[in-house]
């Protein structure tokens, strides 16, 4: 028998850690989604897709800016000392992933803005003539457009990985303490972004491409989740306990049903039928993928807080 009783009852700490509520999973999800959208839209710019009439290059950067701002607002809501939010930008702490993330986000905004300038939505073009002027200047330098595409891909990858590294750096929480979490969140973000673009794309080629790409991302995601669980299950006893919380414990029903089943396996099956033209494309698989990505963040954040040494 080993029984530990303590007299401490600190708010948000006891009986088990619950410092992060809905705000952080929403921020991590939207950060991952935008990271995926940046990589995909950056790739489209690099390939010159912005010249196509119906390309989603016109809508993606602006939507990314909006979604990222929503995520940042969720992060702001989570801060307990909101008026000190600027303190994150008064310093750079090289060992702090959160500090890295704060500064990455500072570079993400101008990269997305430049991406938006390449192919602006009509309503922005007519309302802000200055942007149109800048856009014309940008189009005089095709290499510049490719560079914007590359910047978006690189910053998107950094943002996507950061959302996972942020959690994996907390050695005190065994479930999070896996370096593979960064790649899991990056691939999950790419998958959610591909699903999102699949839903909004008007260009048939892009829709088909992203449905196929999403199948690839979902397969890789399944593989990474498997590696993540194997890594924990073959580690120390606290890491094994953390893995079992997901596999057979408190979080198992949500994990297996909503993350693995409805979030990955079912949409992967339906999209595989759709890309082989056995069934029609529909919004159901992408919606399931997006919802699965969101639930994945909720489960990982909640289970990680419940895991301890």
């Amino acid at each position: 028998m080993h029984e530990l009783t303590i007299t401490r009852h600190n708010h948000l700490i006891d009986p088990s850690l619950h410092i992060w509520g809905w705000e952080i999973p929403v921020y991590l999800f939207l950060g991952g989604l935008v990271a995926g959208m940046m990589i995909i839209s950056g790739y489209f710019l690099f390939r010159g897709r912005h010249k196509e009439v119906d390309s989603c290059s016109m809508t993606l950067p602006f939507l990314s800016l909006v979604l990222l701002s929503v995520g940042m607002f969720a992060l702001f809501l989570d801060l307990e000392y909101k008026v000190h939010v600027w303190r994150m930008y008064a310093t750079f702490q090289i060992k702090s992933p959160m500090s890295w993330g704060s500064w990455i986000l500072i570079f993400v905004y101008p990269a997305l803005f430049l991406n938006m300038l390449v192919r602006q939505p009509k309503w922005i073009r007519t309302r802000v003539p200055l942007f149109e002027k800048w856009s014309i200047s940008l189009h005089q330098h095709p290499v510049g457009i490719k560079t914007v595409g590359v910047f978006n891909m690189v910053l998107g990858a950094m943002l996507g990985i950061y959302t996972g590294v942020l959690l994996s750096s907390f050695g005190a929480r065994p479930l999070w303490n896996s370096s593979i979490l960064g790649f899991l969140f990056l691939v999950s973000g790419l998958s959610a972004a591909a699903a999102f673009i699949h839903m909004i794309a008007r260009d048939r080629w892009e829709r088909e491409l992203l449905a196929k790409a999403d199948n690839g991302f979902l397969t890789i995601e399944l593989f990474i989740i498997g590696m993540f669980l194997i890594g924990l299950a073959t580690s120390t006893s606290v890491h094994q306990e953390a893995a079992f919380m997901l596999v057979t414990g408190t979080f198992a029903p949500v994990f297996w049903v909503f993350v693995i089943g409805m979030g990955i396996v079912i949409p992967l099956f339906l999209q595989s039928l759709a890309v082989s033209h056995r069934i029609k494309h529909s919004a159901i698989p992408p919606l399931l993928v997006i919802a699965g990505g969101l639930v994945l963040r909720f489960v990982i954040v909640a289970a990680g807080q419940a895991s301890h040494w």
Partner: protein
């Protein structure tokens, strides 16, 4: 350079919570929160059961993950004695330090900043002992400089069996428990 540490004799500690009350009074810890607390750790199988009563707090680690993860530079190691402290005016309340601490020693003060034990550095700088140490009725708590070979804490750690909490977490804590 001083390196402060606390040594607690678990054979003398009776869990009276005087240390907890002294800390709350000295540091005006808000109602409902604790910077230190009592742990009752029971192990074994009846009738071979051992009970260890410990006064616990921030371990002022040599390798403090709470300092490394802070994005604002609010969590820091004090130049005197290696004590881990928080600059209240720099803290944004992001709670990363709370997630990083394997001892769950930190909490969010109702004013919004991360709060924790300071080893009563304001008293130590005046040559006094931390409040919890100074009030202990069983004299089970000791405070001193590990760098001083003649300090009471060094002498106790060399002469008595002792352990720290979660050494496997790699934080190199500076609160030791004599057994």
């Amino acid at each position: 350079m001083a390196r402060y540490a606390m040594v607690i004799d678990t054979r003398r500690c009776v869990g009276c919570m005087d240390c907890v009350v002294a800390c709350k009074t000295e540091n005006q810890v808000p109602e409902g929160f604790n910077r230190d607390w009592i742990a009752y750790d029971a192990r074994g199988t009846f009738p071979e059961i051992q009970l260890e009563i410990r006064s616990e707090r921030c371990n002022h680690c040599d390798n403090p993950p709470c300092v490394d993860c802070c994005p604002c530079g609010a969590s820091h190691v004090h130049e005197r004695g290696g004590v881990v402290l928080v600059h209240h005016d720099k803290c944004s309340g992001c709670k990363a330090c709370i997630a990083a601490c394997p001892y769950d020693a930190r909490f969010i003060n109702p004013e919004g900043y991360a709060d924790k034990c300071t080893f009563c550095i304001h008293r130590v700088e005046q040559g006094l002992k931390p409040a919890c140490v100074s009030v202990c009725p069983t004299h089970c708590m000791y405070f001193g400089d590990l760098e001083d070979p003649n300090s009471e804490v060094n002498r106790l750690l060399q002469s008595r069996k002792n352990h720290a909490l979660l050494p496997e977490a790699g934080t190199r804590p500076h609160v030791f428990y004599l057994t």
